[in-house]
Symmetry: C2
DNA sequence: CACATTACTTTGTCTGTCAAGGTACTATGG
DNA sequence: CCATAGTACCTTGACAGACAAAGTAATGTG
């Protein structure tokens, strides 16, 4: 392969990724772990240690709250719920990501916004379906 | 503003950014510093300490080589030149960035590739200029 | 009955960024 | 003539996030 997502490229995004999963509804650690792998199309695994570290951080910042599930049988599950503050934090982080993408495209690829480029290519060259 | 590029969002990209500047030709520390600010459209400043740390790292990995300029008057300047290895490293890093962008768009925005989306919108809704 | 899976968690290490501090020279306005 | 800003280089130490490694404990399966 050769093309992977390094630790450094993911850094600073884990909180946002977790909050995004919780926007779909309450969930617990191990399920969130699996959902992230699935969401990425099996391209990325957020390690468990990273995940639980992030839970502590997000709880402390009141972006999420936790409660134990009432599983009578089987192992206990700790559920997490997105708070209003967490929702706001997510919204701001998505804006930051979109902004960072544009700036990094300039700095790495000397590119304008990729959407704009796609548009320009279309308007100049007409629509070619593959 | 509120929308800025945090340390964590840039982490892992500084080497690539520097190598990209050097693709345009040899340059020295302070000039590279200024060029990066300009390239970003004054949206991002790569701090000098970070820059010089990166130079040491990139030299050690043989991605760049350095030599003193022959300024007879004025302060001395240390120039950096991109090596073949550095060029390869840059090429791989851009692939990684493009890949990471796609995966992160899925994980943060639940989105497919933004280019694909732009295309889909166009094909469905027709071309609306602004 | 061993092994995989579910489910939770902590500790210590590593690495990149950058604030803070430093040196030295040049140009400019008061 | 001197203070200040700008050019140009550099190092050290602090900090924070990711994660390997290690652990607990239950359930399911071959």
């Amino acid at each position: 392969m050769g093309t992977t997502i390094s630790t450094d490229l993911i850094r600073g995004h884990t909180d946002t990724i977790i909050l995004n999963v919780l926007r779909q509804g309450d969930s617990y650690g191990y399920e969130i772990y699996k959902k992230i792998i699935a969401l990425s199309g099996n391209q990325y695994e957020l390690k468990e240690a990273t995940l639980y570290t992030a839970f502590r951080r997000l709880e402390q910042e009141e972006c999420i709250v936790s409660y134990w599930g009432d599983e009578t049988q089987g192992g206990r599950r700790k559920y997490y719920r997105l708070t209003d503050k967490g929702q706001e934090f997510y919204a701001q982080n998505t804006k930051d990501w979109i902004f960072a993408k544009e700036v990094l495209d300039k700095l790495i690829l000397n590119e304008l916004n990729s959407d704009k480029l796609a548009l320009e290519n279309l308007l100049e060259g007409g629509i070619n379906n593959e």
